[in-house]
Amino acid sequence: MISAPLLHLSGVGKDYAKLDTDAARVKLVLDLLRGRGVARAFRALDDVSFDLAAGESLGIIGENGAGKSTLLKIVAGVITPTRGSVDLRGRVGALLELGSGFHPEYSGLANIDLAAALLGLAPDEIAAKRDEIVAFADIGEHIHDPIKHYSSGMVVRLGFAVATTLRPDLLITDEVLAVGDESFQKKCIAWMENYLFGGGTLLLCSHSMYHVQKLCRAALWLKDGRMVRYGPAAEVAQAYLAYHEEKSAGAKQSIAARQASAEGFYAIQSLSLDPSGRIPAGGALMIAGEVYSPDDRAPVVLVGLVRADGTPIYGIATDMDGVAPVRIAAQRFAFSLSFPQLPLLPGKYIVRAHALDPEGVRLFDNVEQPFIVEGATRELGLVRIGHGWNGGAPR
């Protein structure tokens, strides 16, 4: 026997009315009263279907305005879908945005009561849970102060404590982990892993591919309200990252080129890697590109290698090595830099290129290309440093 999934969405869509005049508002009300749909609509979400079995975890990813929050709100019951159906068997705990459901004038304790009442708990159940929530939130005496005096981190702590202590069958969270200090984030992640391990079900919406890959088995990529890709988390996250990198690289370059001609800036106009995207550990990497010079003098090019999180590893500029980019056309110069044996350990990295004025003083832009170093090793850190164990015996 196949048990029914905890959550089943089939062909779910949501339209928002486009209203520009007062008459349109009146017409909308009349249409709604007659049970008709919205006449002129913006499709925030269209034809989204997926199953989420108990004990599974799904990450929703996508750009701003892709419909992620709308989807989560539909699952949470805040929004009624225009089309399609949502079947949910169990109690939902939703953490939608910062301090949602809290009343700013109420104290932390009063808000705990309100939040629990919103979840449909009876007063005696609320009283039984209160101490546990206060302990998890761990904000001390502030629990007696009105929420409006809280820092955003404290609000998140309280919200997370409420949503988690009530042990929902399905936990929905929307980009809330981004707030809160490091130790609280760790606590949240630890709690979620524990919750998932204990059979909990999670629907997570995040811009952090790290969180999605760490916490979710599957991922769903939304773009303009439609499903682009739905599958194993790592696969979808990588496809999404690749799309994003292409897009941002394109955007940066075009901005740079436009600014360069308009404002007389030195600018990197193209940046390419060979091999592009993935290189084996210890392999060769060639970085090449073109740079624009408004006054036709050879600019200085600075190339840096940074880890995916922005930690700098190595940087070198043309003037440091006493070379200059080669003039290939009027106002256009080319550069090429190679690392014959790149000593980086497997992981995600970024090449950054900057154009500087010929004096090497002013830095004008920042163009990036990500790449991945592949390989299997148990070495730690960022780079392989030549070494030898003196007098060590083989194991």
């Binding site: 928002y16 508002r25 009300v29 805040v78 929004i79 009624t80 949602s100 459901g101 009561d113 009442a117």
Partner: protein, 267 residues
């Protein structure tokens, strides 16, 4: 079928009773009792109003006894329920906006907001009504307190009807912001068309059926029967009133439930 729908609704609302209590307290405390003078104000306000009416009608206009009762008592018995209904309608109409943050983020039955708003206003006004009756009796006015046996059910009927109207107006207000501005003058006109400051018997014969058809006029009449004359007999008109109140509630709720799924986008 209607029975099962009704029972499902009651069950759903019963599950959220803690939330209703929470909202009710919020309405009561935030609006009336939150300030230091709040609790006192809840009692002082009706008494101050009563004193003003006494000054205006008895001292300035020198209004004589009405239907054998003092004019002040005659007016007070009818005016308080009207003011209660008016305030409940006005607050109920704009109640949804105060919960915009919740509506956008949390799933809960939106109708609870209107119930809590109307209930809080009417509960407080009813207490004020009792205070006014009590004070009038202290000053020697012949108040028939046994009439409360009829007056309380009449207030409950009023509450049901007002809740229905408030549900409809609150839902419309979310989409069309003019509703609250239209409401005030309409209520003002209705007040003077209702036999509150005058008895029906002073209305010219030809216009009397029109004025008498006003449901609120019925309520005023019955309250005067009960509290001024101590007449507790029930007649067929009461059954019609019950039907009208239930119809208003059901109709208002139908409108509200049609529109409430779209609140999230408009609050």
């Amino acid at each position: 079928m209607p029975v099962s729908v009704a029972s499902a609704t009651v069950q759903r609302l019963a599950r959220h009773r803690a939330l209703f209590v929470n909202f009710f307290r919020r309405e009561l405390f935030a609006r009336y009792l939150g300030s230091i003078t709040g609790l006192a104000w809840a009692f002082v306000h009706p008494l101050a109003l009563l004193a003003v009416y006494h000054f205006v009608f008895t001292t300035v206009f020198r209004a004589g006894p009405m239907n054998g009762k003092s004019f002040l008592l005659f007016v007070a018995v009818a005016l308080w329920p009207w003011l209660a209904a008016q305030e409940a309608l006005q607050r109920g109409t704009v109640s949804i906006a105060g919960y915009a943050g919740l509506i956008r983020k949390v799933a809960f039955p939106h109708e609870l907001i209107v119930y809590a708003s109307v209930a809080a206003t009417l509960a407080l006004q009813f207490v004020g009504y009792l205070v006014v009756l009590f004070v009038l009796a202290l000053f020697g006015e012949p108040v028939h307190f046994e009439g409360l046996l009829l007056a309380v059910p009449l207030w409950l009927l009023l509450a049901l009807a007002i809740t229905g109207l408030a549900l409809a107006l609150a839902a419309l207000q979310v989409f069309i912001k003019d509703v609250e501005h239209i409401l005030l003058p309409v209520l003002m006109i209705l007040m003077y068309l209702t036999p509150i400051l005058y008895p029906l018997s002073l209305v010219p014969q030809g216009m009397r059926p029109w004025v008498a058809a006003n449901p609120f006029g019925y309520l005023v009449d019955r309250l005067r029967d009960a509290l001024l004359d101590g007449r507790l007999a029930v007649y067929w008109g009461d059954a019609i009133a019950v039907v009208v109140a239930i119809a208003l509630f059901a109709g208002g709720r139908w409108i509200f439930l049609r529109l409430s799924p779209h609140f999230e986008d408009f609050v």
